[in-house]
Amino acid sequence: MSVPALDELPKGYELPAFPFELSPDWVREYVASVEDEAIGEVDGDFVPPMAIAALALRALLEGARLPDGAIHLGQELEFVRPVRVGEKLHASARVVSRGERQGWVLSGVEMDVTAADGSAVMHGRATATMPAGGAT
């Protein structure tokens, strides 16, 4: 099934919510890819907080395609509590701003990550620009 490109989505659009799991294998691969040497020093088998954002983003990209050439301009993140390896979470997101100028779209997307009991785990807001029309 094809999914819409982010540049096509209007302000107020709710992206399909997705569950995701911070599986041990995925966390291991993430930590290796970013070479995080600090999280292992924190007691509690926690995942790097940016891993939550990265995997939530990956889940949400199931519902909205990032056009080729998209550029990440800014990011806000709030980590409500530490998350342990193996936790199952839920990501939801919405387009909160959209503008277009000279063939480029500027979009703001807010994202919430919650635990199985509905409690907040992470909030975020990303700003990105991309070619209008999903140019490749």
Binding site: W26, E29, Y30, A32, S33, V34, E35, D36, E37, A38, I39, E41, V42, D43, G44, F46, V47, P48, P49, M50, A53, A54, L55, L57, R58, L61, L66, D68, G69, A70, I71, H72, L73, G74, Q75, E76, L77, E78, F79, V80, R81, P82, V83, T136
Partner: protein
């Protein structure tokens, strides 16, 4: 752990390579060819591949974990702007300094720079000043 106002955070330095960018793309599920396809990236304003912004932020986050311990994943906030791209071959250093304390929260100016001193990321991070530590 508590860090006094004026404290320079212990920096984190990483070398960016195309192999690391490709590995992050697979882990993060972000296959934007701007990061992974040199031929496509050569046609863009950047003239070549660049690292994912979230990869560079992972270095910043590692620095904050190293300095604040559990207080960072357990109550940290980050607000940044990307100022320039990190490219394969760059040596990226994440830096920070505690600039004030507000209601038990340490407020830090944070940034990432490459080996030429060019600013890649700039912003502010906060963490509970008296967290449980590592």
């Amino acid at each position: 752990m508590t860090l006094a106002v004026g404290t320079e955070l212990t920096p984190v330095t990483k070398e960016v390579t195309q192999a690391k960018i490709d590995r992050y793309a697979r882990a993060g599920g972000d296959g934007n060819p701007l990061h992974t396809d040199p031929a496509f990236a050569a046609t863009t304003q950047f003239g070549g591949t660049i690292a994912h912004g979230m990869l560079v932020l992972a270095y910043l986050s590692e620095m904050l974990t190293a300095n604040f311990g559990r207080a960072w994943p357990g109550g940290g906030r980050l607000k940044i702007r990307f100022k320039g791209p990190a490219r394969p071959g760059d040596i990226v250093t994440a830096l920070g300094r505690v600039v004030r304390e507000e209601g038990g929260v340490a407020v830090c100016e944070v940034e990432c720079r490459n080996q030429r001193g060019e600013l890649l990321v700039s912003g502010e991070a906060t963490a509970p000043a008296a967290g449980e530590g590592a």
